[in-house]
């Protein structure tokens, strides 16, 4: 085998399971000279990922063909942007570490209302204990001169309001919680 020496230097590093929607891929990554050998469901690709613009943009070379890619970690998923399209992928090492989620998830009757963007709370339209219908405005936010109504995702009673007008919030911050019956 001509590349026997190289084979010796490569070693199995990690097995991943990568999930996107209904698609599931078994992925095996080996480190080789000048890049990675990545096998997806048995098919091997030569892959190199080089940092282009910190911290999110890379040059991705697959079997010698290079293209820019943007990769952002958001919670437990990776958002991979290639061309104009975005792919949301969950990556888990296959050595079975118990999956997060089921145990930590709050009860289905408790709904969190979160800020979809960073910004300023302009108004709070509901109080603790108040009954809200699905689609009712709970909070009004503002960022970059744009105002947005944050609505109740379901009908129920407001358990807590965690923000007040004039307060700055981060993206994903919990604004209120809702008890559904």
């Amino acid at each position: 085998m001509a590349d026997g020496a190289e084979r010796q230097r490569t070693r199995a590093l990690t097995d991943f399971e990568i999930v996107s929607g209904h698609d599931r891929f078994a992925v095996q990554v080996r480190e080789a000279t000048g890049g990675l050998e990545v096998s997806i469901d048995g098919r091997v690709h030569r892959v190199e990922l080089l940092r282009w613009v910190e911290p999110t943009h890379f040059a991705l070379a697959i079997d010698g063909a290079s293209r820019p890619v943007e990769i952002v970690r958001a919670g437990d998923e990776l958002r991979v942007r290639l061309g104009y399209e975005q792919y949301r992928l969950q990556v888990t090492p296959r050595i079975s570490i118990p999956r997060r989620g089921t145990a930590g998830r709050s009860s289905s009757a408790d709904v969190r209302i979160v800020a979809p963007m960073p910004g300023l709370i302009v108004a709070v339209q509901a109080g603790p204990g108040s009954r809200v219908e699905q689609g009712a405005v709970v909070v009004i936010m503002e960022a970059m001169k744009m105002q947005m109504e944050i609505r109740a995702p379901r009908s129920g009673h407001i358990s807590v309001i965690l923000v007040k007008p004039g307060e700055e919030v981060a993206k994903g911050q919990i604004l209120a919680t809702l008890k559904t019956q």
């Binding site: 990554v29 990545v38 990922l49 613009v53 040059a59 010698g64 990776l78 963007m117």
Partner: protein, 491 residues
């Protein structure tokens, strides 16, 4: 004798743009900055800079008292307001003139008239220019009846506004109260004036505007048109000139209507007359009594520097333009904003990491970006504009596609993916699009091939998981390195 000096009462890419023309003319450029803009590009490039007391627009770039005080302390000859903020504020223009400082824009009286959108429409009707049905400023109580008269769908627009802020589409009477509240809220924040009016909306029209230049010697020139039909929530995303598919006769009618309107209003300095065009009909919408965001496309095809012309007019010199204006080639602009097209164009804030800006033949970049810069919630999300010129529309589009691939703003989600999609969309490439075009982005079919994304994710996790440091020499030149390695592999 000290140089003519100009206070730039703005921030971001437009402040950088104005500094450039100031320096070209040998003027001293005086910048202002809010605390978060302390190290912004316009401040670094200016000759002198003054702090504004707060970050909120009202405390900073809308703070006319502080700006006038700085104008006095810095002994400037003129104030250039850019676009947005105080650019169309008649009281600010008047206050500048009263304190002996030239306001680079229309006279206060013209700003007042153009700011009263309903009144402007009336004046243009008198001049024989067609307009859409609309109202004067409405109260919440009168809105329902007024809306019924105008007809649905309609738009709520800010009386004191512009730049698409505070505009909301209302499809039916049921949506009216909620949209009125949002529109008033935005109008109050953006313009310090919560008056709104209603105007009929044509969903499948094209948005075409005409650049006007007028001097104090009675000369008015309609410099050319721009197609701004690619809009989302009435925020323009892509602009180009000449307008694709516009018949020469319609183009003549629009230029003529704008010139007639400018004469009727006694217009002076640079301004834009906006129209909706549907088939053989056109309707005047409003005047943007300032320099427009998208002015570079006109500059690229005419070779004119509109900011330089603004300074000439402000100094009561004659316009220096050759008539007839004969535009050359085609120019297109993509607005690079801190909005995530994959998340419904929600604002994206944070710290800019690294930065890659495009170049090459026919490419111009007007940008406020610098590495380490904070993108905050306080101001408009526009970060930069990429403008491409070509001898034909096809060439301009091809150059833009390449430029977009070269553009990267590290750590901040931007509108670049949307532009890549638009520039490859068959309707856009054919020039058949109208103001509904952006809906196609939300309705597009996701592309099938997941494999490259899966490979990217695996390689990323591999590096992260082993906490591998990327070799330092690839940090900035990684893209080039990749190309080199590829050619090495082949031999």
């Amino acid at each position: 004798m000290s140089a003519y000096s100009v206070l730039i009462a703005n921030r971001g890419e437009i402040a950088v743009r104005i500094v450039r023309s100031c320096h070209e003319l040998g003027f001293r450029a005086v910048a202002v900055y809010s605390p978060v803009d302390r190290r912004a590009r316009h401040v670094i490039l200016s000759d002198e800079a003054y702090a504004l007391p707060g970050n909120e627009p009202a405390a900073s770039y809308l703070n006319s008292a502080a700006l006038l005080e700085i104008a006095r302390r810095a002994r400037v000859n003129a104030v250039h307001p850019g676009y947005g903020f105080l650019s169309e504020n008649p009281a600010f223009a008047a206050a500048c003139q009263e304190s002996g400082v030239t306001f680079v824009g229309p006279p206060s009286s013209v700003l007042a008239e153009c700011g009263d959108k309903a009144r402007t429409r009336e004046r243009l009707v008198q001049a024989g220019v067609p307009v859409l049905p609309g109202t004067n400023a409405v109260s919440d109580e009168d809105a329902r009846a007024a809306a019924a008269r105008v007809g649905f769908p309609l738009l709520i627009k800010a009386s004191g506004g512009g730049g698409g802020k505070g505009i909301h589409l209302v499809r039916s009477a049921g949506e009216l109260p909620s949209m009125l509240r949002l529109a008033r809220g935005e109008a109050r924040t953006a313009f310090g004036d919560d008056r709104v009016y209603l105007e009929r909306w044509l969903p499948d029209a094209r948005h075409i505007e005409v650049q006007i230049l007028a001097d104090t010697h009675g000369r008015i020139a309609a410099v050319g048109e721009r197609d701004c039909s690619v809009q989302r929530r009435h925020q323009k995303l892509i602009e180009e000139t000449p307008a694709p598919g516009l018949t020469p006769s319609m183009q003549r009618r629009l230029l003529q209507a704008a010139e007639t309107g400018a004469r009727k209003l006694g217009y002076v300095n640079a301004g834009t007359f906006e129209f909706l065009v549907q088939g053989d009909e056109y309707y005047f919408l409003e005047v943007n009594a300032r320099l427009q965001v998208e002015h570079p496309v006109t500059e690229l095809v005419t070779g004119m520097d509109l900011v330089v012309q603004q300074f000439r007019v402000a100094r009561r010199e004659a316009l220096s333009i050759e008539v007839p204006i004969s535009p050359r080639g085609h120019a297109i602009e993509c607005r690079i904003s801190a909005e995530d097209p994959h998340e419904g164009f929600l604002p994206s804030t944070g710290t800019v990491g690294g930065l890659a800006e495009p170049g090459g033949p026919g490419i111009r970049v007007d940008s406020a970006l610098s590495p380490g810069m904070e993108v905050t919630r306080y101001y408009d999300p526009l970060l930069a504009k990429v403008i491409a010129w070509g001898t034909t529309r096809g060439e301009a589009l091809a150059r833009m596609r390449q430029a977009l691939l070269e553009t990267a703003v590290g750590g901040i989600a931007t509108t670049v993916p949307f532009h890549l999609w638009a520039l490859n969309d068959p309707a856009f490439v054919a020039g058949n699009h109208d103001t509904r075009f952006v809906r196609g982005w939300d309705e597009r079919e996701p592309r099938g091939d997941l494999i490259p994304a899966v490979l990217a994710a695996a390689a990323f996790e591999q590096a992260e998981g082993r906490r591998l440091r990327f070799p330092p020499d690839t940090r900035n030149g990684g893209w080039r390195r990749a190309a080199k390695d590829e050619s090495v592999d082949r031999f």
